[in-house]
Amino acid sequence: MEKLLMKGNEALAEAAIRAGCQCFFGYPITPQSELPAYLAREMPKRGRVFLQAESEIAAINMVYGAAGAGARVMTSSSGPGISLKQEGISYLCGAELPCLIVNIVRGGPGLGDIQPAQSDYFQATRGGGHGDYRTIVFAPSSVQELVDLVYDAFDLADIYRNPVMILGDGILGQMMEPVVFREKPRRQLPPKTWATTGKKGRGQNIITSLYLDPVKLEQHNWKLDKKYREIMARECRWEVINGDDAEYFVVAYGICARIAFSAIEMARSAGVKAGLIRPVTLWPYPQKAFDDVMNRAKAFLTVELSLGQMIDDVKLSVNGRAPVYFYGRPGGMVPTAEDIFNEILKMKGASV
């Protein structure tokens, strides 16, 4: 198969087209603008819809409309734009509409800067919008994984009738790596019998998140809860590197996991039995990854491009069974492998 050297943003866009994305609605923002730029050029050529909306709020509501009509649809943005889309994401979850939302995260809060960050973890995994809802969140750490997860994101969205988010960062969006576009065997996807496609003799379909009767809304919430539990049971993904005999674990995702991988190698050279847990799904969070290593783990070090957000999930997963330390760089700054290596040594020193 042909290997191409592509930027993360462009590779993601190409993968979306190959995965059958029919419509894109969005509004440009650095550091993800190559994604809509690529789609603006390619989607019309391949008979798809590309529309630059007048705002992020308009874009996410166009996603709602297209998803309600049964289309395979996506939007993308970076932190400030994703904040604007929160109301729409809550409605999409309430109405159980499948879609892909991409967040190529930049430094915040507010307008922040355009450098890479992971400070939208809470927003992505806890839901920045209102109500009891969850979105599946994928955190790729290479351009190839970014591509592979796009296919899965669209499929899981359809299977569970739920928005799926890909949480990247500025470096992942901007960097180039070789990619191969695999033609994956298509999953058996449920027919969209609920979509508003014109009645043509069938019963009425209504897409809504409004249930004025609290008895009905409670039932709806329990139904969502059942779905979320199914997702938690089935869809957790993670990778463990150098974990077989490791005693000291770094936990990191996305670009941070790549740097941590280098730090682990340095630690191994220095005689420290270090391993890496790399969550691929941030929700559902892969708690089993921690259970699997708990018999030998002496301590965990969470490394993030933030003030410390994923560390909450690490602590919930470790559940007091071992100490959990934190090292982070917020605001668009990126730690070096040496920085993380030094923190691994500190963790080892503190845990003896």
């Binding site: 050297l5 960097m175 180039m176 790596e177 790549r258 280098s262 990126v334 040496e338």
Partner: protein, 186 residues
Amino acid sequence: MKLETIMAGFGGQGIMLMGEILAHSAMMENKEVSWIPSYGPEMRGGTANCMVVISDRRIASPIISHPDVLVAMNKPSMEKFSPLVKPGGLIILNISMIDDRPARGDVDILEVDAGKIADALGNSKVANMVVLGALVGKTGIVDKKTVLNSIDCFLPSHRKSMYEINEKAFIKGLELMAGVTLKGVG
């Protein structure tokens, strides 16, 4: 095998392209590669750099703290990055634009009059290909033929007439390896 290279200079000197061609060549030889641009509110005449990692194993961090090779196309780039080069590493200087020399006795320093050579070929814009030739000649990280194929790949169909001068510039850089001044250890 792993080679970490930082390429830096002014925006407009073809820094990003030089890195992309190197990364593309290595990919075509089935090596693992990554390429990261400096990005931000950049503009022509500002500073630009990219990081290229080439390895025969899965690449951990694509971000380079201490490069094996630095290509400095202007003085600010030399000043910023030369202290970071690994001992025993290589610094390639475009001396057409740099009158100073880095204060390092523990690295190889390769002086390439890339601007002058490019001018003599008839187009100052191919200075980047001269330097790329020198890098490939010195490190042998990829085959010369692969690079020439990659140069061709990167030229859009309406610019194929530019292939010849880029090829010449690259070969000039390669050939320079015989007579160029080498300083330091290694």
